[in-house]
Subunit: 207 residues, 2 copies
DNA sequence: GTCTATATCCAGATAGAC
DNA sequence: GTCTATCTGGATATAGAC
């Protein structure tokens, strides 16, 4: 019976080439925009002819999907390593938004791929998409530990976070104009949330 | 001397055809996504051959630019007709965010064209872009009338508005899940803003 | 298995006849 | 102004060399 001694080496080489292609793809979309990814340029940048890419990815959307999975994995990894989840719930929320906005601000193309729907025919695989749902559930748990179970508060919080990220990226890319507002913004939300939890009535009263 | 009796009629017809093309373009991007605009399909939908479009627009980006100008004009028109600017500054801010979010939510393609940068090679003309700057200045005036001159508050307010719009479009298109949060969100902001105006110190005190 | 070469189709854009 | 014909280039897929 024949053994196949080079099988692992081939698989390793294949994976390494895939990674190299993905790296080049990220470089290209960062330089030219997410939607401007071109298989010709991509192949040339890794020293291949365009059709050779099809040995590594079934289609252009498969490349987008692999990039999506990479970005989502980066989100999970960096979140778990950079977020100590402090005891103080306010500080925990502030840290969470800091992480989120700075993660988004670090790479516009990644932000568009992960959090916006910019590529017409592209939808991420369900397993990649599941990551955002998991992160959101984690956030809901944190709010619940603050005594808040109202899902509206969760929605308001996500709106605040995405708004800060969106403005930072749209109007001050590379800067920190909205990043500097995060602590204040989360404090605003936190006080509002705890007040509402104490006074769940519709009628508002003057301070 | 020769007169040119049909000149107005030609110009009218030209403008009418341009408008017809733009209407068809909006229809196409609403159906297939902003970036999926195809000159072939567009030409066919108005009964032309593709090159004939170039009698009306210099390029595909010129079509995007005309659409941008249309959308920006709609924003100005609807804003001035639907916003009575009430005396109560809180109500005025709420009305402003309501208008903004619902304007965005009414048309995803228009939102992407006006407020996000989805088309790689496309930048709007400066005159079209000026509209958003004007609206922002108007908003700054309203905050100033509330006794707030801190530009950070303006930035925070725009982040809140765009965050609500973004979440509404991304996660509940066609619904009102984040629209229903607007009044509460603006109230949260308003109380925070007026508190900060009274206590502009860095150190925070317990309530 | 991976490559080169090639074929097909569709995109935006231009030239020139009428 | 509209057409036909055509150019350039990208995306996808297949054939065949090695």
């Amino acid at each position: 019976m024949l053994v196949q001694p080079d099988r692992d080496r081939r698989a390793e080489r294949h994976a390494a080439t895939r990674a190299e292609i993905l790296d080049a793809a990220w470089e290209q979309v960062r330089a030219s925009g997410l939607a401007a990814l071109s298989l010709r340029d991509l192949a040339r940048s890794v020293g291949m002819q365009p059709p050779s890419l099809y040995s590594y990815f079934d289609s252009k959307n498969a490349i987008y999907d692999a990039m999506y999975a990479q970005g989502a994995q980066q989100f999970v990894d960096e979140q778990s390593e950079s977020m100590p989840t402090p005891e103080d719930p306010l500080k925990a929320l502030q840290a969470g938004v800091h992480f989120f906005v700075e993660f988004c601000a670090a790479d516009l193309a990644r932000y568009q791929l992960l959090f916006q729907r910019v590529i017409p025919g592209f939808e991420p695989t369900p397993e990649s998409f599941k990551i955002s749902a998991d992160s959101l559930a984690e956030l809901g748990g944190l709010l619940a530990r603050c005594g808040v179970s109202d899902p509206k508060m969760l929605d308001l919080f996500t709106a605040l976070g995405t708004g800060l990220a969106d403005q930072q990226l749209s109007n001050d890319p590379g800067g920190d104009r909205w990043i500097r507002l995060i602590d204040d913004a989360v404090e605003m939300f936190y006080e509002h949330m705890t007040n509402k939890a104490k006074q769940p009535r519709k009628g508002r009263r003057k301070k």
